[in-house]
């Protein structure tokens, strides 16, 4: 399948890319890894007249750790999965190592993924749970935008015309913190049926100090489950409290029935994922090594 013909512009720097897009207007799009945009263009659901290619701009793919983790927007998911620095925050590894399949992870970028703001995307719940910031550059200059204010709706972000993401900044979690991101999928290359990100900080081995819980896929954007956070915060983590967290997650989910499963199936799945994610996050916060990843069913 061929996309509609378009004209090609290879940017040598972000300022040049922004200038090009400003001049070309609404018929132009940035191309990052292309793992969502190219399939959409092949199906002609997207048909830009111009592509401004960001792939050849030097020094846009990196992971630096200096008090916080700074990830270049063009960093591929596989590079994040392989990074020793990023793996120090296990929830980032859960996400980056589980997105789609190896081929897609080699091309897809963190910046492209969050700029698309697909409700089924993996990064949004994880970056929300870790309190990340999105650094942008546009015709009006640089901005730092809290991820919670960056993703506005399904496929809608705070990016202005010709503005692009340059970096994603993830603060290093406090001592005795642990997180987990788990998505349920039918198989690797398809969209997830449900996903959840949990980040916990403990007082001691059994008592939670702080909690962040975000449900993915089952709403127009990732949904904060404040009821679940309140059930965990400043309380012992027990089998009973985890059951209540699962109920709170199931309560907030807004699933719809489709080829990925019935609404009820997805609601039950969200509850099961919540249990697994809270247990995994708590173990990691206690210093245990636990692997977690996308689940296939």
């Amino acid at each position: 399948m061929y996309p509609r013909p378009f004209r090609y512009h290879r940017a040598k720097s972000y300022p040049e890319a922004i200038l090009l897009l400003s001049e070309l207007g609404e018929e132009a799009k940035f191309l990052a890894g292309g793992q969502s945009l190219i399939p959409l263009m092949k199906l002609r659901l997207s048909a830009p007249r111009h592509l401004v290619d960001l792939n050849f701009i030097p020094e846009t793919s990196y992971i630096h750790c200096n008090g916080e983790l700074r990830i270049g927007a063009m960093t591929r998911h596989a590079e994040i999965a392989a990074s020793v620095e990023a793996t120090r925050i296990p929830i980032l590894h859960d996400c980056s190592a589980g997105i789609a399949d190896p081929q897609v992870r080699h091309m897809g970028t963190i910046g492209g993924s969050i700029a698309e703001a697909d409700p089924t995307g993996d990064w949004a719940p994880v970056l929300l749970a870790t309190g990340a910031t999105v650094e942008t550059l546009g015709p009006a200059g640089e901005r730092s935008i809290d991820i919670g204010e960056f993703i506005l709706d399904a496929y809608t972000t705070a990016l202005q015309p010709a503005e692009l993401i340059t970096e994603v900044v993830v603060p290093l979690p406090a001592e005795r913190s642990g997180g987990a991101y788990i998505a349920l999928k039918r198989c690797a290359p398809v969209y997830a049926s449900a996903s959840i990100a949990v980040q916990l900080t403990l007082h001691d081995d059994h008592t939670c100090r702080d909690a962040c819980v975000y449900l993915g896929v089952l709403g127009l954007t990732a949904m904060r489950v404040t009821a679940a956070e309140e059930l965990l915060r400043n309380k012992p983590i027990t089998a009973d409290s985890i059951e209540k967290v699962c109920a709170a997650v199931k309560d907030i989910a807004e699933p719809t029935s489709d080829m990925r499963g019935s609404a009820e199936y997805k609601r039950q799945a969200a509850g099961a994922l919540a249990k697994l994610a809270v247990e995994t996050a708590a173990k990691r916060a206690r210093g245990e090594y636990v692997e977690a990843t996308h689940l296939y069913a």
Partner: protein, 165 residues
């Protein structure tokens, strides 16, 4: 003269040989490989980034060549299934797929071979889980995967072929 942006000049090394072509920007890497270079070992299966039949390595990393524009490989090195055998000798991964009958109709095989080469590069001694993750982006509608798993295990163990290839 302003640059003609309705064409893009790309230079790509494919299986060790340098090619320079002017192509339409919308040309996908798989079309470049098959139609411009006549290397038809790389197959188009689903054409929607699902099945992995079109998997090739670009700069040593597996990608779905139906979901890459040809210009994204500009200046890079591509390895396709035609580049695996050397001096008339099958690559150990090809030999293992042959020995273990890791295919049936064979349509998906080039993609599985390339994903397996990538997998064994990262995990020379893969666990069952590594194998599952490594070929998760490839679909086979004939075999039920059992012989593909056997072939990958055999290739990793260096059975029946010269693994030092």
């Amino acid at each position: 003269m302003p640059e003609d942006i309705s064409r893009v000049r790309i230079s790509v090394k494919v299986n060790g040989k340098q090619y320079t072509r002017e192509v339409e920007p919308r040309m996908l890497l798989v079309q470049f490989i098959r139609e411009e270079l006549s290397l038809t070992g790389t197959h188009i299966g689903c054409d929607t980034s699902y099945c992995g039949a079109c998997t090739v390595l670009v700069n040593g990393k597996s990608v779905k060549s139906c979901t890459l524009f040809a210009f994204q490989a500009d200046g890079g090195e591509v390895l396709t299934v035609e580049g695996l055998a050397k001096d008339g000798q099958l690559h150990p991964v090809q030999q293992a797929f042959s020995d273990c009958h890791g295919f049936q109709c064979g349509y998906c095989t080039p993609g599985f071979l390339m994903s397996t080469v990538q997998l064994l590069e990262e995990h020379p001694h893969p666990t069952e889980w590594d194998i599952r993750k490594g070929i998760a982006g490839n679909t086979c509608r004939c075999t039920g995967y059992q012989n593909i798993f056997r072939a990958i295990r055999a290739a990793a163990a260096g059975e029946g072929a010269d693994i030092g290839h």
